[in-house]
Symmetry: C3
Subunit: 138 residues, 3 copies
Amino acid sequence: MQTTFSIATHGPGLTEITREVAQWLTAAPSGPALLTLMIRHTSASLLIQENADPEVQTDLREFFHRLVPPSDHPAMAYLTHTYEGPDDMPAHIKAALLPVTLSIPVLDGTMRLGTWQGLYLFEHRTARKTREIIAHLA
Amino acid sequence: MQTTFSIATHGPGLTEITREVAQWLTAAPSGPALLTLMIRHTSASLLIQENADPEVQTDLREFFHRLVPPSDHPAMAYLTHTYEGPDDMPAHIKAALLPVTLSIPVLDGTMRLGTWQGLYLFEHRTARKTREIIAHLA
Amino acid sequence: MQTTFSIATHGPGLTEITREVAQWLTAAPSGPALLTLMIRHTSASLLIQENADPEVQTDLREFFHRLVPPSDHPAMAYLTHTYEGPDDMPAHIKAALLPVTLSIPVLDGTMRLGTWQGLYLFEHRTARKTREIIAHLA
């Protein structure tokens, strides 16, 4: 059982996708299963993160913006891959630091996430994008 | 085949869980299989790391403490999610940087880890906690 | 279906392994499947990253060299695990920050990677090494 989710993003930050994924899983057979998610891009990431306070999402975006500043920042003068814009190479670095794939145990069509866990797409580019995530259930 | 491990933690640092997981796998059927582990929390992580010298574990804890200082540190003044304590938002950031899920090939009930690899829970909070890890074998 | 890939590395940096893995998958049955890769070392990583411009790979290596300098760098004076050389403990830290395992949906023997995604081994040690990667398909 495989599908593709298409998610619209609007600049750097987290977009929750828990509901879309949970809804697809309602078609899953009963019993234990394993959900795998993979994002098909090298400048965006997948995260399992806190779903309660939206300030957590803002703080995550700000931390990674400071850890990996735009390539026109003096601290990043050593970067060579700059012709796709100052947000491009930092986006690749963030996509190395953060997950591209997630593996989530499922029981009776429900992800076994903790109470405070949600699924997120973490966009690293500035421009609006449509991102594809492959979901595989077995 | 799914189970839940409950692991007690005592402040920031690594707790080895290789033995508990290996023992559960002795009930696995022969042949190839895949073990998936997922931690059900957003302020602790799972790691595959060096199991020989305990100083590696101390150094890992210290590196991440410096990379993501407590939110009352001047360098972190931009953080907004601070009401759960100075160790909370940094714990979420570390939980984004480090794995939440691990996928480990198994053969005849034995994880195919390298000689120097062990499984660890990496606690990021200061208070004592009980952490849940879901294990799925298929 | 499990196999082991042995990859020679020549110091810090990325080595593409997409072709080797894709070739092995040509023996896969038709239909959906899941590929899992795990590197059996604690001082090297697996990455899904941009496969178009080799400068991305150089910049990734340089970013992580600056984020985690050698242990004889003044900024790393707090490290205690230093007897295996100045590149050893930083290699363990990078192996914590970057993936050890990857889960990749497959369809009809083809990985469902995006257009710009390739598979890489990221070596963190200075000396030449032979690295083992376990592949599991189910």
